[in-house]
Amino acid sequence: MSAVVVSARSAATLQHGSSARRIGAMMLRYWYLLRSSWPRLLDLVYWPAVQMITWGFVQYYVANNAGFFARAGGTFIGAVLLWDILFRGQLGFSISFLEEMWSRNIGNLMMSPLRPLEFIAALMVMSVVRLSIGAVPVSFLAIAFFGFNLYGLGFALVAFFLNLMLTSWAVGIFISGLLLRNGMGAENFAWSIMFVLMPLACVYYPVTTLPTWLQPVAWALPPTYVFEGMRALLIEHTFHAGLMLHALALNAVLLAAGTAGFLLLLASARRHGTLMQTGE
């Protein structure tokens, strides 16, 4: 589409149809924010580091006292690092969104040409950026402290990472919709929802540990396949591609449901006039 050229003195020339530029604008906005605040940067690193060190020592102790765990080397630290990808991925997405609520900027964005799906795309990219700032240094700490090399998982790590990120985005997208519709009253979900998944996704133990009636629920969650896959890789040295494909299929459903939920909640927010009142 051609540019709209305005006639008056000191008028801006506008270009149309630049979705990538709008997504870039939002990424730039979050990058400016991260760059301007060292506590925000520190926050990305310190908790994953504390988690990894704590569980690393637990594993060190158990491995020296139990034959099975000696064979299961790295499963705890591996679980901690992969859990952090899932948890931090969702949190990175949700915090970027919350930054707009805290700064009362949602109205500006919703009344700008930024489309909801472009907004979501920018939040997805920023969740990867935020996660990388936190997880990459911690993964090197795991090598230095406990000799656990996450990158040694090779292609499997790519499959694990992709599936965990897809789940974290699906949950983050839905939570953002809840925040638009219900305001800051829904903020706690952003911080805590992943902990509901934690016992069911069998992060630190096999699915068979759960009662039989609860196991189908666990298998309905994509992260379960990732953690089972990780344990199989570390204990049996076998990569189960089928588990990853199952997770991918479930993630496709979850992502579609999360996006549909977001759009429905956004439409509801427009009906109820809550986009202007993003406080409590």
Binding site: V6, L14, H16, R29, N108, S112, G273
Partner: protein, 252 residues
Amino acid sequence: MHTPPAAIAVERLVKVYKNIPAVDGISFTLAPGSITGLLGGNGAGKTTTIATIMGLITPTSGRVTVLGAEMPRERYRVLQRMNFESPYVEVPMRLTVRQNMTVFGMLYGVENLKARIAELGRELDLTALLDRPTGKLSAGQKTRVSLAKALINSPDVLLLDEPTASLDPDTADWVRAHLQRYCRERHATVLLASHNMAEVERLCERVIIMKRGGIEDDDTPAKLLARYARRTLEEVFIDVARGTVEAREVAQ
């Protein structure tokens, strides 16, 4: 004679929240290049009307079109040519003025953005503040930043909700003068919600007075003053808000 299409057309607009009508069947059209004041007490429906025009609120019934696009259904056709300023929203405080202008300029698809930011900096006396965090500025300076954000895309339609609230008289006067100049040069359509009657008298060629979600009166400031036999719009506003005129007419 050919009548130019309305910049904003509101037809029988109704917005109901939980059985309470916030806006109750209002209709008006704004001609391109006009400056119109939207007056009314708290809860009269001004902000709901403006938010509906921006596409932030879906009407319960009725129709709103802006530059020929139906809101909110076709909003992406025209949002690039609109902008707004409201006390309900702020630009991010941790970002510098230049960073905020860059982000919003990109969102609105402004070309030659650096030049545009420099130009707005000069026009709004923000040049020296461009690299300071927005949150560290005074209230008056922040208002000028909000105005710069509202003008970044040189909008054809500008919606302003209390643009000079909490400003000292000098800064408020400066903002009004700038808005007036912008509208004259750009031939932009402005809808201005305000509680400042002097501001409305100075800027607006037409005034719409809302009360309890409906339009109570709609005319030029001069005709309103004549009709209510008052010297200021503030007196007219009080008459309408308290229903004094109706009471007097009933008594007569």
